[in-house]
Symmetry: C2
Subunit: 444 residues, 2 copies
């Protein structure tokens, strides 16, 4: 079962969303048409770009936003909303429209990664759910993307489940794939998102047996010589020798999970080759991040298993995305651009369009065009600009192009392609400014 | 619905747990009795102590670890385990014993926060689930505890749901309470764990209306004068004046979410008092962490709403806890202490006892006593030592003392009391060594 689709998601909110709904239903503003936008004011310290993720998963979670009887009873018992609002909630189903950046698309400060349009009532309820999904998933995809770049062509595998909340781990595996990872150790994610599942063995398996040799023999009997043996429980050198003795030269591979991985990998590679196991691969794990992966680029490593730093966003566990009302219907029925003016957190009023401009196949800038409905409708897209907003939900109908397994693979491709078109500095792990400037223009 | 109890948790694992089970069932070691222990090798950089959290929630998740038909079909279709193992899994139910630190109990490097005992087969399957829950929940509780200390007696409220995975947010709210928080904005957590739900209004509510005054009037009509109004959408000074005009001197409170909160709170307090709203409270929010809270200690603030830094562990989003086999049955039926010798990650063999020693009412050290079963059975607890391990599950039976709502409140009390007994440096936000040394002794 998938809690984001099979469970009601309607209480995955902050209380104020329900109380604002309640007040707005009473004062008559609940039906005002609104446009909310999701964006971040800045990338994490020194990051050059972010990678959008979560929207496909979010569409399923929005579909599951149907207050259950139990949810309604809770809202009533706690006196969070009035009886009138409870009746309104019984029929709740998001019937508005959502557009946004494709999953896998790079984003920058002020990129309108999601736009949610509908009545105030139906849109305000989604604030926290939208942000939870996009903030976490994009944080993981953004970190994953840097790791994959640092790994060159070598595969990166998600092994992070144990270092984050058990359900967060499931979405982390999905986001890792969007960021370019090849598989996950997490079975729930493998099942839910039809991802390759990977794994070797833990130290306990060796310790369980009376000898390391017994453990290796057992694993090979169960899974064949192509399996990957964990070789750092005791002496690595001895373990590698035993592994080849037991499996022969067709040994699939070994995993190293401790020590100075660069020198150890070199030593193990030489030993494997000397013993004839020239095709045995070396997988390394042990608190890897993008910097450690980069440092191993010249070591004879075949694949990276990444845990903690992947699922915690490698120092940036959230994207600081916000959900802001940018336009709403006025008393006369026309749409009015709005913005708060809070110190340091002012927003740009009006619905946005978003484009990326290119020159000679390289992206040159992120363009955010703001304005009233009429002004935007008349906006003529300049040559060489690519539109970044795609329709996820149109009047309540989910666009199947952007959900499900194939969409996930397309998202990974999207990241690969879009990244190749960014300025080359996007591949740098050095801290710096975003590789594209975000140019915001307001048109009348 | 609660995905940690109503959903099968049996695929919230890494694949290798199932493949190790499969190999062990084939080679005959699966039934060997084992003791696994959970501990961390170090606290996050400069932290003085950690706060245990998650075990109560974990017991429910372990109860839900019953592979569904759908889960079994997945394991079969992917050829992850053999037919024999599938049959074994059909009847899976953890029948071993688990003891560990109480929720709310401080922990230190090498503290055995959880011990899991049973056959290899039944224990190895739980590795990832155990670690996911304890690592994330304890990270949040540890951060929360520092914030609560920094806040003096002022209440701290969880408002972090939007900055972490949507289901992680639910457990974060629970962990925040263990760390001393008073309530949460997250409705799913409020419902599931019977916590006080709190909330004010968002900027969009003000922007939705034709004027700030309209928004305030609406909120007060819906929720009474005791409500808390958000006063930084436009001009704070004007908003506070409007708030008191609309609500009168009985205005419940205002929230400030931007700007220099210390000077702003002072200015708003003076204005409220001048306008006669002397009892109106001031809530501040805006990326608070323990340092920002400490810096506001002399500002006239009544409560803190904490988001990002709470749910991301304030720079330490995981506790780096590991799940290690420390003792297992040998071929002759006797228990054998075991340990890996991996570089930098060596473990201490043998099951542990854990105590805290005191002098004059203050804790002086964390004591970890390791040894074989017989040695530990004969260990005589020195005077002034307090045992830290309590029974969560005994031969498959969950101890009701440590699960559910009352246990959660006891956990919060436990943290308060235990913290008061730690050396005074525990309250310091300065980086330093753990306030208690962990003294490990191995007895024969």
């Amino acid at each position: 079962m998938n809690p984001t689709t099979d469970a009601s998601t309607s209480l995955l909110t902050d209380m104020y969303e329900y109380t604002m709904l309640d007040a707005a239903l009473q004062d008559g503003t609940a039906d005002r048409r609104c446009v909310f936008e999701v964006y971040t004011r800045h990338l994490p310290d020194g990051r050059r770009y972010g990678v959008t993720a979560g929207a496909g998963r979010l569409m399923e979670a929005i579909g599951a936003f149907r207050p259950s009887e139990d949810d309604l009873r809770f809202l009533a018992d706690r006196h969070i909303v009035s009886a009138r609002t409870l009746r309104w909630l019984e029929g709740y189903r998001f019937s508005g429209s959502i557009s946004g950046y494709r999953e896998g698309e790079p984003f920058f400060p002020d990129s309108p990664v999601l736009q949610v349009e509908g009545t105030f009532a139906e849109c305000t309820l989604l604030e926290t759910l939208v942000l939870s999904v996009l903030n976490y998933d994009s944080a993981v995809a953004s970190a994953a993307s840097r790791m994959v770049s640092a790994a060159g062509g070598r595969p990166c595998m998600d092994m992070g489940a144990r270092r984050t909340n058990e359900w967060a781990a499931v979405s982390a595996a999905r986001s890792a794939v969007i960021g370019g990872f090849q598989g996950t150790s997490n079975l729930q994610a493998a099942k839910l998102y039809d991802l390759p599942a990977i794994g070797t063995a833990a130290h306990c398996f060796t310790l369980l047996h009376d000898s390391e040799r017994d453990a290796f023999v057992s694993q090979i009997q169960a899974f064949g010589k192509g399996t990957t043996l964990l070789t750092d429980t005791y002496s690595v050198e001895e373990a590698v020798r035993t592994a080849v003795e037991v499996a022969g030269p067709d040994l699939g591979g070994v995993r190293l999970d401790s020590g100075d991985l660069a020198s150890l990998a070199q030593q193990v590679r030489t030993q494997l080759d000397t013993l004839g196991a020239t095709k045995a691969t070396i997988t390394v794990t042990n608190d890897l991040d993008e910097y450690a992966i980069a440092a191993l680029s010249r070591a004879p490593v075949d694949s990276y298993g990444v845990g903690t730093q992947l699922v915690t966003g490698s120092g940036a566990p959230t994207c600081a995305m916000v959900y802001k009302l940018v336009e709403r219907e006025g008393a006369d029925g026309s749409m009015v651009p709005v913005a708060k003016r809070s110190a340091g957190k002012a927003s740009v009023p009006g619905r946005k369009l978003a484009f990326r401009s290119y020159a000679d196949g390289r992206a040159t800038a992120e363009h955010v065009v703001a304005g009233g409905e009429r002004a935007l409708a008349g906006f003529h897209t300049p040559d060489g600009w690519r539109g970044l907003l795609v329709p996820y939900i149109s009047e309540g109908q989910v666009n199947p192009e952007f959900v499900g397994h194939d969409a996930l693979l397309r998202a990974r491709d999207r990241r690969t392609q879009a990244l190749a078109e960014l300025p080359i500095a996007a591949m740098s792990l050095m801290k710096g400014e975003p590789v594209l400037p975000t140019l915001t223009q307001v048109i009348a």
